[in-house]
């Protein structure tokens, strides 16, 4: 059945709540009339306010409370309407959730899922648009999931909720209205498997979350010019499906890593480093990466025009790696909606 990414998240939550009484779901606005962009809408009516509830604006404590509830048998799902809000909870995530299993000798894990929504455009500005997956992926003990499709939104969310470790589940706001076929029922996708979205032998493009959408536009545009790329949607940042990346690079000999976060210290840099150090002889040219620049995202649309990586940048990078001219004018012309919205469906406010 075709549905939106946001509706798929809601379906995943409803499926988990119905399947297991230990699942609870809370976060700011969870049971309000908008239901976190529709992702939690009316779930409290079906499952009761003990299991689905709003919370005080106390990100740190509510994360610790999720941890304590998990240690006492529950599987909490905590939602932040922006990733940036979750920064208030880093001590609980890094020192408690990520460490509990290890520092107590493996006695008990912390099966929590923390949904964080990454904003972009429409003036989200410096503190509503950060894509900090590399921070969380740096921490042993955390898992980091970044779905792209509606199907993955549901099945990876179910996989995360029923995973026995703490999972940071990163949803890009620009994906919420994406349509896709979603499997019915309780389908739990295990974490750590990438998906090859397009197959080709020219360049390996590694993407995640919304970058996969931009990469798809680029890859399909390049295909019409006779350039076939491998496009890998990582889906999970930690664990990262290295065998899938390595197999592709061994086929293509060229690596372009994409990252919606800042360039320095990012996931794309880690992928480039691992391939360059361990699989150097598989490479025919220097590995490349495209990421957000090392400055905060400004608010005015006049200041964000060239901030994010777009399909034409990806196509041009592939051309440079192959040493050939690629045509991108028609690609740019096809996508003439304003640069600060994901499409006509989005008219603000956040």
């Amino acid at each position: 059945m075709s549905t939106t990414f946001a509706a798929a998240i809601r379906e995943g939550l409803a499926t988990a709540l119905a399947a297991d009484d230990s699942v609870i779901c809370f976060g700011l606005g969870t049971d309000d009339p908008k239901g976190v962009f529709g992702t939690t809408l009316d779930l409290h009516k079906q499952f009761g306010s003990d299991r689905v509830f709003d919370m005080p604006t106390s990100e740190a404590a509510m994360t610790g409370i999720a941890i304590g509830a998990a240690l006492n048998g529950l599987r909490p799902v905590l939602t932040h309407q922006r990733l940036d809000f979750a920064l208030l909870s880093l001590d609980q995530l890094v020192n408690n959730a990520a460490k509990w299993r290890f520092m107590f000798g493996g006695q008990r894990g912390v099966p929590i899922t923390i949904r964080m929504i990454i904003g972009r455009g429409w003036g989200q500005g410096p503190t509503h648009s950060q894509s900090l997956q590399s921070w969380f992926a740096h921490i042993p003990g955390l898992k980091v999931v970044m779905p792209t499709t509606a199907a993955d939104a549901k099945t990876l969310l179910l996989g995360s909720i029923f995973d026995d470790d703490p999972v940071i589940f990163l949803e890009h706001r620009w994906l919420h209205n994406m349509q896709g076929d979603v499997p019915a029922g309780d389908v739990r996708e295990p974490l750590g498997k990438a998906r090859v979205v397009r197959s080709g032998d020219a360049v390996t493009i590694v993407a995640m979350s919304y970058m996969t959408v931009e990469a798809l536009h680029a890859v399909d545009h390049l295909a019409a010019q006779g350039i076939a790329c491998d496009l890998i949607d990582l889906r999970s940042i930690r664990p990262l499906d290295w065998p899938a990346v390595i197999a592709s690079v061994q086929k293509t000999g060229r690596l372009l890593a994409l990252d919606p976060g800042h360039l320095t210290g990012g996931v794309a840099g880690e992928i480039v480093a691992r391939i360059a150090t361990d699989h150097f002889t598989s490479l025919n040219c220097a590995p490349q990466r495209l990421a957000a620049p090392d400055v905060p995202e400004a608010t005015s649309p006049a200041l964000t025009k060239d901030y994010h990586v777009r399909a034409e940048h990806i196509a041009q990078a592939v051309g440079r790696m192959l040493g050939r001219e690629v045509e991108t004018a028609s690609l740019i012309a096809q996508r003439q909606f304003p640069h600060d919205v994901p499409g006509n469906w989005f008219s603000g406010p956040f």
């Binding site: 509830a69 006492n72 299993r101």
Partner: protein, 330 residues
């Protein structure tokens, strides 16, 4: 209070005191290779809480947790082995003195970041309320914790949801070397500050173990009856240095006179004298208690010394439920 409970309180305080003093005495051997925060002088609140809580109640604590762990019933052998870094330790050598756990008696964990386990303890209580289990969650904390944001956030949620939480504060007057006077304005009382969140708060002499026991008995019964969370502040004093086996009155952050005044209020001999005066116990009984404790401690240290270290490869395990992903392969 019946004589049996009084004798238990004396035994538990003597046991905690003796364990801590043995650690201090042997720390110089360099075989306990982790920071230790000893509870000498502060035994009364832990012993009273241990006697009031049921084994099925849950508890969490912070960096100075030996007394809480032992009073809740945690294994002494596993604690000493943990401080020795041995595989038989309660955290298999991965936690040390500041990360104690014994789930078999409801001691769910102590951690090293001030305030860090407060929300965890509140979270433990959420399913208790949801499933009406009749348990309570005890959060041990020190006087620095009501300076952290996460403490107030946690208290607020416990009040909003009327969770069965006992917030149990030992106020020993110092956060490392910083006195309360540089951390709170003049005249402020922690229990009055916390009361602003809409829960019942109490305070008392943390070195009068029978008074603490009486207060907590009433409080725990009320919490268990569904009356919501409570906060108890008990004033006490840490005798030895913040971290380590020594005395540090010479470095100038507190006066010898202050220390000596608190030593006169030592909770252990105070109870012993009272029980002997009341005829509830004899000198011979106390000697027998001490002998039993000394034997147990000797056995625990021998166990720790004789236990093997973890395998070096254990450094890479227990990161995830399935360790397949832990050391990422190239």
């Amino acid at each position: 209070m019946n004589a049996e409970t009084s004798r238990r309180l004396l035994f538990d305080m003597l046991r905690i005191r003796s364990v801590e003093e043995t650690i201090a005495a042997r720390y110089g051997e360099q075989t306990m290779r982790c920071p230790t925060h000893l509870s000498v002088g502060q035994e009364a609140v832990a012993a009273a809480a241990g006697a009031v809580l049921k084994p099925t109640d849950l508890a969490v604590s912070g960096h100075r947790a030996h007394a809480h762990y032992l009073a809740k019933g945690g294994s002494l052998k596993a604690m000493i082995a943990e401080i020795y870094g041995k595989v038989t330790g309660c955290s298999r050598g991965k936690g040390g003195s500041m990360h104690l756990i014994d789930e078999s008696v409801g001691f769910m964990g102590s951690t090293a970041i001030v305030g860090g386990t407060v929300p965890v303890g509140v979270g433990l209580a959420y399913p208790m309320k949801l499933n009406n289990t009749g348990q309570i969650s005890c959060v041990f904390l020190g006087d620095a914790v009501p300076e952290t944001g996460v403490f107030f956030e946690s208290v607020n949620f416990a009040v909003v949801k009327q969770l069965p939480v006992l917030f149990l504060c030992e106020n020993n007057g110092y956060s490392v070397y910083s006195p309360l006077s540089v951390r709170q304005p003049p005249g402020r009382k922690l229990y009055e500050l916390v009361a602003g969140f809409g829960l019942k708060t109490f305070h008392g002499d943390g070195n009068d173990v029978r008074a603490v026991h009486a207060a907590l008995s009433e409080g725990v019964a009320a919490i268990r009856a569904g009356e919501g969370p409570r906060f108890y502040e008990f004033e006490t004093y840490r005798w030895r240095e913040h971290c380590g086996p020594n005395y540090d009155n010479d470095i100038g952050y507190r006066s010898v006179a202050e220390y000596e005044a608190w030593k006169l209020r030592d909770p252990v001999p105070a109870l012993r004298r009272a029980l002997i005066a009341e005829g509830a116990i004899s000198d011979a009984d106390v000697a027998a208690m001490q002998a039993a404790i000394d034997a147990e401690i000797a056995e625990a240290f021998a166990f720790a010394e004789a236990s093997p270290f973890p395998d070096a490869c254990d450094a890479f395990t227990d990161v995830y439920a399935a360790d397949a992903f832990a050391p990422a392969a190239g």
